[in-house]
Symmetry: C2
Subunit: 197 residues, 2 copies
């Protein structure tokens, strides 16, 4: 495999790019060496060097703790639990949430053999048990695995006495947070309700 | 703009990726640092360092002349003229052509101010005038600009006495080569006909 084919094969592994669009992307990169290829190569190097997970919340950033955890104007007493960083970004784009996040890194899944210890669930429990959190908002996706995960977290947080809420109806059932418009997400955040145990 | 935002902005400039898919691609890259991000950064560096245009035909390769121009089993007497490297790749995938190529790098365009000297047309004319070419197959796209370019090349090649042919009907009018199936391209190559002056 030569350098062009290797580049195309790697680009084709990005979500959203198939073999044909990977070929077009590779050609575009080679044609725009100074304005696209070299900047992208540098940006990837920079990303590999500087981006790390936040040891507090699981978000990714170039600093640890991340800018959200380190922001004193945000309410540390309200923690929004999301599956993935993409969901955190979707909620941040609404500007409607001024608390902090906890990124699970996935959902519980019997089929894929994902248990609580494979996600950042123990860290959430420790944080809730240590005090300082008034409310945990469960913003996992409204899929079977997302809701199973939410029920599990509601269950294990019960002894801590922390209020556990979920996003309001308004998020379509079966939908994924990252694909929703900001208005629906804002409404769902504002009308959040107590979670069913 | 931080490192993550810069990476997303650059990915969004690739054809086929919008802002949302660029975000997903960036997350995927950051999550798969060792298996995707670092290999892609290396592949881009390698590409920037090694890939260059072939000084004979305008194809891109890691060697100059390119592997096609350097291949002694290919017929140097038949030259297929294409707009872009993507079109060359599309024809190569059919395996139906054993001659050489000449990549123009675009089409003549009055609106965009692209004249013959902005494309690799003078190089083609010199090559044809120098002898050794029996046939030039015009495989520009069946768009207005592609056909204008084909007519122009037919016209300027006339004094050289080189036979000028075009791809057979079978290529849909208004279509682009890179989007065609291999079977249609193979049929169009086999049934090529004399170009209309």
């Amino acid at each position: 495999m030569n350098e062009i084919e290797r580049l195309i094969a790697l680009l084709a592994r990005l979500p959203g790019l198939g073999p044909r669009s990977a070929r077009r992307a590779a050609l575009q990169l080679i044609k725009r060496r100074e304005t696209l290829l070299e900047p992208l190569a540098r940006a990837l190097d920079e990303a590999a060097r500087t981006i790390r997970p936040c040891s507090t919340c699981g978000n990714i950033d170039t600093v640890d703790p991340c800018r959200i955890c380190a922001d004193p104007t945000r309410d540390a007493g309200v923690v929004c639990v999301v599956e993935d960083v993409a969901d955190l970004w979707a909620l941040e784009r609404t500007g409607a949430f001024r608390g902090r996040y906890h990124v699970l890194g996935g959902t519980l899944s019997a089929i894929d053999g994902v248990g609580p210890d494979d996600l950042r669930i123990p860290a959430l429990l420790r944080q809730a048990a240590a005090g300082g959190i008034n409310e945990v908002i469960l913003a996992t996706n409204l899929t079977v695995d997302g809701q199973t995960t939410a029920h599990y977290i509601t269950h294990i947080l019960a002894p801590t006495g922390v209020a556990v809420t979920g996003l309001a109806h308004g998020v379509p059932v079966g939908g994924e947070l990252d694909y929703l418009d900001d208005g629906t997400l804002t409404a769902a955040l504002k009308a959040r309700r107590a979670a069913e145990g």
